[in-house]
C-alpha cells in the first residue's frame, strides 16, 4: 500500500512538472497564436490576448487562468477553433489514436514474437538470416520512409488500399503496417536473442534428452525465460506507441487522432490545445509505465519479495 501511494504521488509530481514545463516553454516560442498572415487591428489583438489571459505575466497566467480551469477539468476553448472546447476536440481524436496503438501493439507482438521464435529455432539457417535482415530493415528505416513507400506501391500502383482515412478495415492496413514495422523488428530481435540464450541452457538440453517433443521444450520450458527481454521491452514499446508514437503516421495518412491535433496545435501556436494534448500524452505515458512496473512485480517473484 505504501508503495502504491508513493508511486501515485511521484506520478502526480511527474505530471505536474511536465505540464508546467510545457506551459512555460510553449509561450517562449517565437510567434504567438494571433500573429496571422494578415495582421489584426492592434486593439483586437490586445482584446484577444486579454480574453485568453495572454496579456498577463506568465506566473499570473498559470496560477489564475490555467490551474483553476484545469482543476475543474476544463482546458478552455481552442485558440484556432473558438467554437470548440479543447476537451471536445481531444475526445474526438483519442479513440482513433487508441485504436491505432492497440492494433500496432497487437500486430507487432504477434508477428514479432513469432518471427523471433522461428529465427531462434532455425538459428544460423536461411530462415534466421531472412528474418534478421527484415528486422534490421525495419529498425533502420524510419516511418516517413516506410509510409510513402507503402503508399506508392499499394495505393498508387496497385490501388489496393485507400490513401487515407480510418473508416474501414482496408484503410487501417497501411497506417498500422507503417507504424508496426519498427516495433515488430525490435520484438523479433529481442525474442530471438532471448530464446537463443535460453535454448543453450543445460536444462533445455536435459529436457530434450528426456525425449520431450520439440514444441513442448520450446513452449513449456524455453519460452518463459526466452521472453524476458521482450517483456522488458513491452513497457517502453507501449508507452512509445500510445504516447506520441503515432504522430508521424497520423499526419501521413491524414488520420484525425490526437497526433494530428498536436501538430496542428503546434503550427498554429494553439496553446490550449498543445496543453491538452500534452496532458493526455503524459497521463498515458505515466499510467502505462506504472502498469508495466506492476506487471514486472507479478512476473518476477524476486521483485514481489522485495516489494
Amino acid at each position: 500500500m505504501k508503495t502504491i501511494i508513493s508511486r501515485f504521488i511521484s506520478n502526480l509530481l511527474t505530471l505536474a512538472t511536465i505540464v508546467t514545463l510545457t506551459f512555460v516553454l510553449v509561450r517562449q516560442a517565437p510567434g504567438g497564436p494571433f500573429d496571422n498572415e494578415k495582421p489584426l487591428p492592434p486593439d483586437i489583438k490586445l482584446k484577444l490576448e486579454a480574453q485568453f489571459c495572454l496579456d498577463r505575466p506568465l506566473f499570473n497566467q498559470y496560477v489564475n487562468c490555467f490551474l483553476p480551469n484545469l482543476m475543474k477539468g476544463k482546458l478552455g476553448p481552442s485558440y484556432s477553433h473558438r467554437a470548440r472546447m479543447v476537451e471536445d476536440i481531444i475526445a474526438e481524436g483519442l479513440p482513433l489514436t487508441m485504436q491505432l496503438g492497440a492494433l500496432v501493439l497487437t500486430i507487432s507482438m504477434m508477428l514479432g514474437l513469432t518471427a523471433g521464435i522461428i529465427a531462434a529455432i532455425f538459428h544460423n539457417r536461411r530462415t534466421d538470416h531472412t528474418v534478421m535482415a527484415g528486422a534490421t530493415i525495419g529498425i533502420t528505416l524510419p516511418e516517413f520512409v516506410i509510409g510513402p513507400a507503402l503508399i506508392l506501391v499499394f495505393v498508387m500502383w496497385f490501388k489496393i488500399f485507400p490513401r487515407q482515412g480510418w473508416d474501414s478495415a482496408l484503410a487501417m492496413v497501411l497506417p498500422v503496417s507503417t507504424m508496426a514495422f519498427y516495433y515488430l523488428a525490435v520484438i523479433a530481435r529481442l525474442t530471438r536473442g532471448g530464446m537463443l540464450e535460453v535454448l543453450s541452457e543445460e536444462y533445455i538440453l536435459a529436457a530434450r534428452a528426456r525425449g520431450l517433443p520439440r514444441w513442448k521444450v520450446i513452449v513449456k520450458h524455453a519460452l518463459r525465460g526466452g521472453l524476458r527481454p521482450t517483456i522488458t521491452y513491452f513497457g517502453p514499446a507501449t508507452a512509445g506507441i500510445f504516447a506520441g508514437g503515432s504522430i508521424v503516421v497520423e499526419k501521413m495518412f491524414n488520420l484525425s487522432g490526437i497526433g494530428s491535433l498536436f501538430i496542428g496545435a503546434a503550427q498554429n501556436s494553439d496553446y490550449t490545445l498543445i496543453m491538452g494534448t500534452t496532458i493526455v500524452y503524459s497521463v498515458i505515458l505515466v499510467s502505462l509505465n506504472t502498469l508495466v512496473d506492476v506487471g514486472y512485480v507479478i512476473l518476477d517473484p524476486r521483485l514481489r519479495r522485495k516489494a
Binding site: P41, H81, S260
Partner: protein, 597 residues
C-alpha cells in the same frame, strides 16, 4: 498465476482486442474499382449513364468520372475551419461555407463578382450622390433551426433590425471582430474615425466615435428597410456587403450573459450544429476537424427558383498528394473552392478537361523595409534584376503569371508599365549607388519554410548576387515571419497578399501611410492623396487616372517588388455545374449543381 500463463494470456487478450477492433470497424466500402465476375461494375455505387453527354473519352479527364448516385457533392475543405461566425471569419477557405449558412443583404454576382445580386434585400436604391443606400428586405427571409431529428423549424422572420444589431455587435469596442476595418473600407459614415479612435486607445473618444457610427452609419427604418450612409461614394457598394462581416447573426444564440459581470458577451459555441440558428441556404449538420456536412435548407427562398445538391460534404485532405489522389480516384468532386491543388501536377495535365486555371488576385511579392534599404537606386536595382518568367516557370514551377505590376488583370484597372527584367539597368543603378561585385551590398531576406517561398528566396539570392548584393537567407517559422513583418523587423521579406474586394485600393493599402499592411513603413503623402482620390471618385476615368499616377510613384519607390500573380486551379468533375473563373476565386456553393444526363 504462473508467469508463463500470464504471458500467454496477455498475448491472447491483446490479439483478441486487436481482432475485435479490426472486425468492429466493419467491412470496407464496396470498392469502386471492383468488378463482378462478369466484368460489370457493382450496381450500388457507380451509376454510369447510358449515353453520357460529357464523358466521351476518359483520356480527356485526369480523374476518374463516376456520377454520384445521390444528390451529394463532395468538395475539399482545405485547412481546418477556425470559425463560422461571420464576425470572426478571416480565412479565404472559410468564406464559401459561411456564404451559404448566413444570408446577407446581397450576394456577389455569379457571372460578375463586381455586381451585386439580391439576397435578403430584394432591391435597393441609392441617392444621387451615392452616399445613401436603401435596402428593401424581402418578407420571406427567416431564421431557421434544425432539430436533432433533422427537421427544419422557422424561428422567426429576418428583419432590418437584425442587420443593424449585428453590425453594432461587430463594431462594439469590446468585440474582437477581425474584419471590422471593412466598415471603413466600404466608407460607412464614421467608420474611419472610429478606427482612428480605437488606435488612439482613448476610451472617451472611442465611445463617442462608436456612438456616431452606429447612429449615423446605418439604421433600420422599419422591419424591412435598412439604410446605409457613406462618408464618400464607394466603388465597393453594394457588392462588398456580401462580405461575411456584414452578414447578420441571430443574437439570442450568438450572445450570452456572463454570470459574473451580467454583461452580454460572445457565445463562441453558437455555431456548433446543435446550437446554431442560421439564415442561409444550407444547414450545418456535422462539423469536425476533418469533416463538414452541409444539408439543404428546403424552406429557404433560394430553392423556389434554383436547384442544388441536397448535401455538400467537405473533407480535409491536408496534404496536396492526398487531395489529388482523392480527386483522381473519384472520391472528391471539386477541389479548389476551399483548398489549393498542387501547381506542379496541374502543369503536367493542363490539357485535361477537368482542370480549370485562371488568374486570381493573390500576389507573391517582396517587401522592402524602407528604413533599412534607404537608397532608392538599390531598391530599383533589386526590382529590375528579377527574371520573373524564369522564376515562375523554372524555379517555382507553378502555373502563375509573372508580373511586374502589383495589381492583377481583372480588377477593372489598367496599370502603368511595371518592372521589366533589365540586368544591365540594375547593375548601372547599383554602380551609381556605389555597389557592385567588388563592394557588395549586404541584405537579409526573410521567408517562410513553404516550398514556394524557399524557391523564391533561393532564386533571389542568386539573381541579386549577380548585381552585387550579398543576400543572407533567414528562414522563419510562419508565425514568427508574420510577427516580424507586422513589426517591420526585417530588411527584405518574401510576402503574399490576396484581394478582399474588386478595386486596386485593396493593393494600395500595402503602401499607404500608417496602414497595418504597409510592412515596409514607407510613406508618401502624394501616393496617399492620389489613391484616396481614386477610391472616393465617382468617375471611372478620374479614378483610373489617379490610380495610375499613384502607381507610378509606387513603382519608382520600389518598396513593393511584385513577382507573380497566382493562378487559381479548380479540379472539377464534368457533372459539376456552376463554377466560374473570376479574379477573386470566389465560387459560391449555392450555385453548384450536379448535372445529370
Amino acid at each position: 498465476m504462473k508467469p508463463t500463463k500470464f504471458i500467454l494470456l496477455t498475448i491472447i487478450m491483446t490479439a483478441l482486442l486487436g481482432l475485435g477492433i479490426f472486425v468492429l470497424n466493419g467491412e470496407p466500402p464496396e470498392d469502386e474499382w471492383a468488378k463482378k465476375e462478369d466484368g460489370s461494375p457493382p450496381p450500388s455505387e457507380a451509376v454510369q449513364p447510358e449515353k453520357p453527354d460529357w464523358v466521351v473519352n476518359p483520356d480527356d479527364y485526369w480523374g476518374k468520372v463516376v456520377l454520384p448516385a445521390e444528390n451529394r457533392l463532395k468538395i475539399c475543405m482545405g485547412p481546418k475551419l477556425m470559425s463560422l461566425d461571420p464576425m470572426h471569419i478571416t480565412a479565404g477557405w472559410e468564406f464559401p461555407f459561411s456564404d451559404v449558412l448566413s444570408d446577407g443583404l446581397v450576394h456577389r454576382g455569379h457571372d460578375n463578382p463586381a455586381v451585386a445580386e439580391p439576397g435578403v434585400a430584394e432591391k435597393w436604391t441609392s441617392s444621387n450622390d451615392l452616399k445613401t443606400w436603401t435596402f428593401y428586405l424581402r418578407k420571406d427571409a427567416y431564421w431557421f433551426r434544425r432539430t436533432k431529428e433533422g427537421l427544419v423549424q422557422i424561428v422567426r422572420q429576418m428583419t432590418a433590425y437584425d442587420f443593424a444589431n449585428s453590425w453594432q455587435r461587430c463594431l462594439d469596442p469590446e468585440a474582437t471582430c477581425e474584419y471590422r476595418p471593412m466598415f471603413s473600407d466600404v466608407q460607412i459614415a464614421g467608420a474611419r474615425d472610429y478606427e482612428q479612435a480605437l488606435a488612439s486607445g482613448n476610451k472617451k473618444t472611442i465611445q463617442a466615435a462608436f456612438q456616431y457610427v452606429v447612429t449615423h452609419g446605418f439604421e433600420a427604418l422599419d422591419e424591412y428597410t435598412f439604410v446605409v450612409h457613406l462618408q464618400n461614394p464607394s466603388p465597393l457598394m453594394p457588392a462588398q456587403l456580401s462580405f461575411p462581416v456584414f452578414r447578420p447573426v441571430y443574437l439570442p444564440v450568438a450572445m450570452k450573459k456572463d454570470p459574473k459581470t451580467k454583461k452580454e458577451t460572445e457565445n463562441d459555441a453558437w455555431t456548433r450544429p446543435e446550437n446554431a440558428v442560421w439564415s442561409g441556404e444550407y444547414f450545418l449538420a456535422e462539423w469536425t476537424d476533418a469533416h463538414l456536412v452541409l444539408v439543404k435548407n428546403d424552406l429557404h427562398y433560394w430553392w423556389e427558383t434554383h436547384e442544388g445538391p441536397d448535401v455538400i460534404e467537405a473533407l480535409t485532405p491536408e496534404k496536396y498528394e492526398a487531395i489529388q489522389d482523392d480527386f483522381e480516384q473519384g472520391n472528391i468532386d471539386v477541389v479548389g473552392i476551399s483548398c489549393r491543388p498542387q501547381g506542379a501536377m496541374v502543369l503536367a495535365n493542363r490539357d485535361k478537361k477537368d482542370i480549370m486555371t485562371f488568374l486570381e488576385s493573390r500576389l507573391n511579392y517582396v517587401v522592402v523595409n524602407h528604413n533599412k534599404v534607404t537608397d532608392q537606386r538599390v531598391r530599383q536595382a533589386l526590382a529590375l534584376s528579377i527574371d520573373r518568367k524564369t522564376l515562375v516557370e523554372n524555379v517555382m514551377r507553378v502555373p502563375d503569371k509573372p508580373s511586374g505590376n502589383v495589381v492583377p488583370d481583372g480588377m477593372g484597372y489598367l496599370g502603368v508599365q511595371g518592372y521589366i527584367y533589365d540586368l544591365d539597368g540594375a547593375k548601372s543603378l547599383m554602380a551609381l549607388a556605389g555597389y557592385g561585385p567588388q563592394k557588395p551590398f549586404t541584405l537579409t531576406l526573410n521567408h517562410r519554410q513553404r516550398d514556394t517561398e524557399v524557391a523564391i528566396a533561393t532564386y533571389l539570392q542568386q539573381a541579386w548576387g549577380v548585381i552585387g548584393v550579398d543576400v543572407k537567407l533567414n528562414v522563419l517559422e510562419a508565425r514568427q515571419h508574420s510577427k516580424n513583418l507586422h513589426a517591420a523587423e526585417f530588411e527584405v521579406s518574401v510576402a503574399a497578399w490576396g484581394a478582399d474586394y474588386l478595386d486596386p485600393m485593396t493593393y494600395w493599402v500595402l503602401a499607404r501611410t500608417g496602414n497595418a499592411y504597409n510592412y515596409g513603413r514607407w510613406s508618401d503623402p502624394m501616393f496617399d492623396d492620389l489613391t484616396w482620390q481614386g477610391f472616393t471618385n465617382r468617375s471611372d476615368i478620374d479614378r483610373v487616372t489617379a490610380y495610375q499616377k499613384a502607381e507610378t510613384i509606387l513603382r519608382d519607390a520600389a518598396v513593393l517588388i511584385p513577382l507573380a500573380h497566382a493562378t487559381a486551379i479548380l479540379l472539377y468533375k464534368p457533372y459539376v455545374e456552376g463554377l466560374r473563373p473570376n479574379v477573386l476565386d470566389d465560387h459560391p456553393l449555392r450555385h453548384l449543381r450536379i448535372k445529370r444526363p
